[in-house]
Homo-oligomer: 352 residues x 2
DNA sequence: AGCCGGTGCGTCATCGTTCACGCACAGGAA
DNA sequence: TTCCTGTGCGTGAACGATGACGCACCGGCT
């Protein structure tokens, strides 16, 4: 069904049909009715190729992320996924503009928003780590599309959200801790170095929930404040609880604690579980200092969110609004197999 | 960079540039050289919108899969992913044609190939379960694109392969068995009901490899032949090995064995690990009859393979030839979170 | 000389959508 | 009546790639 076919059926010109389709007025009510009836009956899907050829608009996505080098490169992984999508979509008129900020300093976030908007982006892809500032931005600029990544943000607007369920991630971490402990019981420590972060708090809550009905275990929450070093806090915990048998770090900082546990000679008696397959954590796991990691597939998140924005912006498709990233369990045995999208077939074990 | 711009730079008409770009001859060698030099210097990416608008070719993908109702609906999951991709790509001129066959009867496979080719498909997406017949097909019809799904097939041609590494899947199953057993040792049974299948054999090999250096465990391979029933074989195994403590089913038939284990009253003493999140296995896990499943994300495989073919066929992009699907660990605690793509955010645990 | 085939190139219509422009006719004001 | 404004339409020119068509020229043949 093309505009020309509709026009012929309605006995009008394509210009008139176009005006009806775009509500540009200057059409007799009766004619509008006729044309709408035809569209209702036969359906009409504009030809995406013709449309974009004519419009020849480039769709620019502003990407606002914490500094890519921060948090052990976690945000760079997300950005890599965005880049991969943009590489594929470049010939379909999609481009990006990255602006980094400091997640501890809201002013830098607002500056990033301003900078991105100055470049007239059509959409913004960001991690809503600063809920108030994010809401402010959306209120002030309702005309552009938004995609959230890494964490959800409760809000009324229609937005694309690509994130993992952090509560269930923490709950699963509890189960994995349990599996690794075998029959051992004891004290378990949940370490949070980002106490203000929604994801981190939810993961801790999930872990504690898992042990709520298991009286043999004591779960201790350890929020590391800036005032004392993480290493001191850890040593204190070992001192206070001689039966400390497991540590769960709710974010990507696990390698730092794993290193110190090894240093203290406690590795053999402590199960270590953490989050995210950043380079440092990957190395720690390969060195045997970490038992289990949970991954949220950051590259996949970036890739997917970018594609959703493209579908919405260029193809005029209704995007999937909430995309739940599966909880990915990484053990030393399958760490090689996680390559994020997972591209690159590892043929070594497969006779070809 | 458009053809017109190249033409202006070269001092020729767009027709000439087009002939050079498509090697259609009838151009003076000197002119070819000039134009190629310009392209080398400035680069040229044909406008995908203009190209496809003009060609208005519909790209049809033939999908050849075992009967969707067979194997507990495993193939239907793959097909669902294909359907999701096609729904998104329909407005970009992609369509599919499904033909099912019986994987135990090569004749039905060849009939499916013929049927699909009669409809002049541009590409074929299939699981190369019948290596010889698949190679025959590719030799006879080298002009169309192929995508393999579920399993790899060693071959010289450039093809897209979307699959998991089955050996490492089996190896990881060994590790998971180990974790679930805690300190218990004993006899472990590997059950294979599809002895001719490459994936199944590799998974068994991986599992056995994991226990190769663990003398406390005996691993027993149980290939179920058609001559006796699976249930009898299982009972025999329990009879022969009083210390039987774990069962690994290398394919999606695990629910069947899990049910019989429960019936025999052995559930409490047997760890059950299997493959694939088909409906029956999901139910068995929720009923507590299965401890762990490994998923190969069949929907994601179908979705990804379809997109790769589209990129190759419509966008003329060089596809990623080998796409490795991560090994997905499903426990009762995260079964809710696996929704394949995973679409549909489950907001229950997240205050919005 | 006249004809033919091949070569090198330009021209033009086409795909479907979008939008500026302009025509014709109505009704109202001068 | 004349002029002007607004309404309802049609027209046509883009967007860039593609490929059929045809023109001019050259060489070789009868």
């Amino acid at each position: 069904m093309t505009i020309a076919e509709i026009a012929k059926l309605a006995g009008v010109s394509i210009g008139t049909v176009d005006r009806v389709l775009h509500n540009r007025g200057r059409v007799a009510p009766k004619t509008v009715e006729t044309i709408m009836a035809i569209i209702d009956e036969y359906g009409y899907q504009p030809n995406a190729f013709a449309r974009n050829l004519r419009l020849s608009k480039t769709y620019t996505i502003g990407v606002i992320l914490p500094h890519l080098h921060s948090e052990y490169g976690y945000w760079r992984l997300i950005y890599n996924g965005v880049l991969k999508a943009v590489k594929e979509l470049a010939q379909l008129a999609v481009s990006i503009e990255l602006v980094e900020y400091d997640r501890l300093d809201p002013k830098t976030f607002l500056a990033a928003v301003t900078k991105v908007l100055d470049n007239k982006v059509d959409a913004i892809l960001l991690a809503p780590l600063l809920p108030d500032e994010t809401r402010l931005m959306m209120e002030r600029h309702p005309q552009i599309s938004y995609a959230f990544i890494d964490s959800p943000l409760p809000c009324r607007n229609q937005v694309i959200t690509v994130a993992q369920n952090p509560f269930r991630g923490g709950f699963l971490a509890g189960k994995l801790m349990n599996l690794h402990l075998g029959s051992r019981a004891g004290t378990l420590v949940v370490i949070n170095t980002h106490t203000a972060a929604f994801n981190a708090a939810e993961r801790a809550r999930g872990f504690i929930e898992y042990y709520a009905d298991k009286p043999n275990y004591t779960v201790l929450q350890l929020d590391i404040e800036a005032s004392r070093t993480a290493e001191e806090a850890l040593e204190q915990a070992y001192h206070d609880h001689s039966d400390l048998s497991g540590i769960f770090v709710v974010n990507n900082a696990v390698a730092r604690f794993a290193a110190h546990i090894a240093l203290l000679g406690r590795r053999n008696h402590t199960i270590v579980i953490g989050y995210d397959l950043v380079e440092q954590n990957r190395a720690a796991m390969l060195e045997g200092k970490v038992d289990c990691l949970i991954s949220q597939r950051p590259e996949f998140q970036g890739y997917t969110a970018t594609y959703q924005l493209y579908r919405k912006g260029i193809l005029n498709q209704k995007p999937d609004e909430d995309i739940l990233i599966p909880i990915d369990i990484i053990l030393a045995e399958n760490i090689r197999d996680d390559n994020s999208y997972g591209l690159e077939w590892n043929g070594r074990d497969v006779p070809r």
